[in-house]
Every structure is written in C-alpha cells, then in structure tokens.
C-alpha cells in the first residue's frame, strides 16, 4: 500500500494528464477539428505531454 501511495504521489499528474486530459483532447480533435480516428489518438500523446509538464512544474490545478 505504501509503495502504491508513493507511486500515486509521484505520478498522479502524469496519469491524470494521459487519461483525463488525453480523453478530452481526443474528443476535441474528433468533434471540433473533425480529425480521423488515428489522428485523434494523438490526443492521448498531448495529454501525456501535458501531464509530464504538470508533474515537472507542480501544476496540481490540472486535477
């Protein structure tokens, strides 16, 4: 449990960026920019990048 807590503490913003913001970016690419399915999956890459940026800048406001 302690190792899970440590993992969560260290990586929660990255996980949140990938899954939460990634899903939102994918939906935005699909519905707003009418991208195809393959291109829209880049939204998850954007989410991951946003999460990594948040981790290194300490941006917990993304959560």
């Amino acid at each position: 449990m302690e190792s899970f807590n440590k993992f969560f503490e260290d990586w929660n913003l990255v996980l949140f960026g990938l899954l939460f913001w990634g899903s939102i970016f994918v939906a935005a690419l699909l519905y707003i920019f009418e991208a195809n399915m393959i291109v829209s999956l880049l939204g998850y890459a954007l989410g991951l990048a946003f999460g990594l940026l948040a981790k290194y800048r300490g941006w917990s406001w993304i959560n």
């Binding site: 996980l15 949140f16 939460f20 939102i24 939906a27 800048r57 300490g58 959560n63």
Partner: protein, 308 residues
C-alpha cells in the same frame, strides 16, 4: 430584545458574548437543503445532458450554478452548524458537507482542517492557507491564486506543509480525507473516458470557476489588506451587487467574530452586536445599517473603497 437592550450600555467582552451566544446552537436546516439540493440538481443535470433532454450549454450553466453553491454547506458542517453542535448529529456535518463538496472534488475533512487554520491565523502570511487569494493585489489575481496557490510548490501548499509538520491533529485530518482524493481522482478519469466533453464542461470547468469565485468573494473582498485579529481581519464591503448574490459575504465579518453563529443568522446577530462592533473598531462597522435582514447592502461603498 429587552434582554439584549439591557447590555447595550455595557460594551465589555462578557456582555458581547452574552448577546452573541443567543444566536448560537441551532441546526442550520437551510444549508442541509442547499447541500443536498445543489448536489441533486448537478446529478440531474448530468443525466439530462447525457440523455439529450437539455443541451450541453444549458447543463454547463446549471453546473456553474451548483458549483458556486457547493462550498457553503460544507463550510457550515466545518463549524458544526448542521448538527447544531449536538454530538449525536455530527454525521450530518460530515456527510452533508462531503456530499456537497463532490463537485469540487475536495474532501470535507481536509477543507475543515485548513479552514480552521484560516480562522486561527487569518491574514498571517506564514500560517493562513487562504492568505494568498485573500490578500491578492486585485480580484483577478485572487481568482488565479485560488486555483494555483495549492500547486505542489505553491505558497498555500507551503503553509499547509508547515502545519503538517507542526500539528499532528492537522496531519491526521488530512490523512483521513485521503481516500476521497483517490475516489475523486479515478471518478473524474472514468467519466472523462466515457463522456469527455461533458466531464470537462459539467465538472472540471465549473469547479475551477467556483474556486475563483470563492477566492474573490469569500477571501479577497472580505480580508484583503487588513490586519490580524478577530476584530480587525475582516471588513464590511460591497461590490454593488445585492449580497444575496454573493452568499452574503459582505457581512462575513460576523463569521470571523463568532464562527459558531449560523450563516443565516448573521444578519440579525449583527443588528444586535453592532454597538460592540463599533466599539471594537471593526472595519466598516460604523456603516452597518440598523436593519440588515433582507437588506441587500448594495451601498456600503465607503467601506470597500475607503478600506483598501
């Protein structure tokens, strides 16, 4: 009132407490209704948007409304107003407070612990977790600070870390709220995967908007630029809007003077305590109208502009 009138010539602290205590101890049922009501409306909004009964933009506006009404019931629970201070009803303080905070993705226990530190150290930059939006340079900075001051290395987080080190009870309260943090974290992710745009506009944006609203109306206007001390740390103010649209934070000074008085009793308590407030030199007390109940106090301009 006759009994209260007898104390008016005696403006001692003891006399002040005798008057104040007459306004304490009831169960604030209005906040229970608001807490459960706003949460029910928010859930209904989700359902109605997903089944297509209302458009997303209407849902977004409703979610903004519910988010802005989500904090005060928890705040009432933090001060035991929902239980009326009765031990066998303390579950009301916790559960109504927590249910109401779901939209804010905040644990009631954690907000209670940090809010009580705010009361103990209002306007102290080293110990007040709300200092940074409460004492921002302007309303916009307060709106931003309410969201970023709690970043991992943000100034509010540094204050909280200091209290964690110094106060074991505070640390324990934060740990108790931890399971809700996990729950909210995964709930947001699951909903974002299933309903991404809806989660963004019905949950994330409204909660961030509400945090800014709270930073401006609950912290910045009442506290900015004032001293420390329960009679000096909060002002009467106006932004020219009826106070009923600002959760009556224009008269928040009553809450910092006697936190055990329920929110919906503050106006009549101020009417009775006005002579004591003037005697103590509370910022803006001299401008308090005789009648505050149902008074929108849109006109105490001198205090807001003169007091800054």
């Amino acid at each position: 009132m006759d009994q209260l009138g007898q104390h008016l010539s005696d403006l001692s602290i003891e006399a002040e407490r005798k008057v104040a205590i007459t306004f304490m101890g009831r169960i604030e049922w209005e906040m229970i209704v608001i807490g459960l009501g706003q949460f029910t409306l928010w859930i209904a909004t989700w359902v109605l948007v997903i089944v297509g009964t209302i458009p997303l933009y209407v849902g977004f506006l409703l979610a903004l409304f519910t988010a802005c009404n989500a904090y005060l019931p928890s705040h009432a629970g933090q001060h035991s107003h929902l239980s009326g201070g009765k031990k066998n009803l303390q579950w009301l303080d916790y559960w109504i407070g927590q249910i109401s905070l779901i939209q804010h993705t905040q644990p009631h226990e954690i907000l209670k612990a940090t809010h009580l530190k705010h009361h103990a150290h209002t306007n102290d930059p080293d110990n007040d977790p709300d200092f940074f939006h409460g004492n921002a340079k302007n309303w916009w900075e307060a709106a931003v600070s309410a969201n970023v001051a709690y970043n991992n290395d943000g100034p509010a987080m540094k204050v909280i870390s200091k209290h964690i080190e110094d106060d074991p009870k505070f640390k324990k309260a934060l740990e108790k709220g931890g399971s809700w943090v996990f729950l909210f974290f995964f709930a947001q992710i699951i909903l974002a995967i299933l309903y991404p745009i809806e989660t963004f506009l019905l949950w994330w944006v409204p909660k961030r908007f509400a945090a800014s609203y709270l930073g401006i109306v609950f912290s910045y206007y009442p506290h900015s630029g004032l001293d420390k001390g329960r009679y000096k740390n909060t002002r009467f103010w106006t932004n020219r809007m009826p106070r009923f649209l600002n959760h009556s934070m224009q008269i928040h000074t009553m809450h910092h003077m006697y936190p055990r008085i329920c929110h919906y009793d503050e106006a009549k308590a101020i009417e009775a305590l006005k002579p004591f407030m003037i005697e103590r030199g509370m910022p803006g007390a001299e401008y308090i109208p005789e009648k505050l109940r149902w008074n929108p106090v849109t006109y105490i301009k001198e205090v807001y502009f003169g007091g800054r």
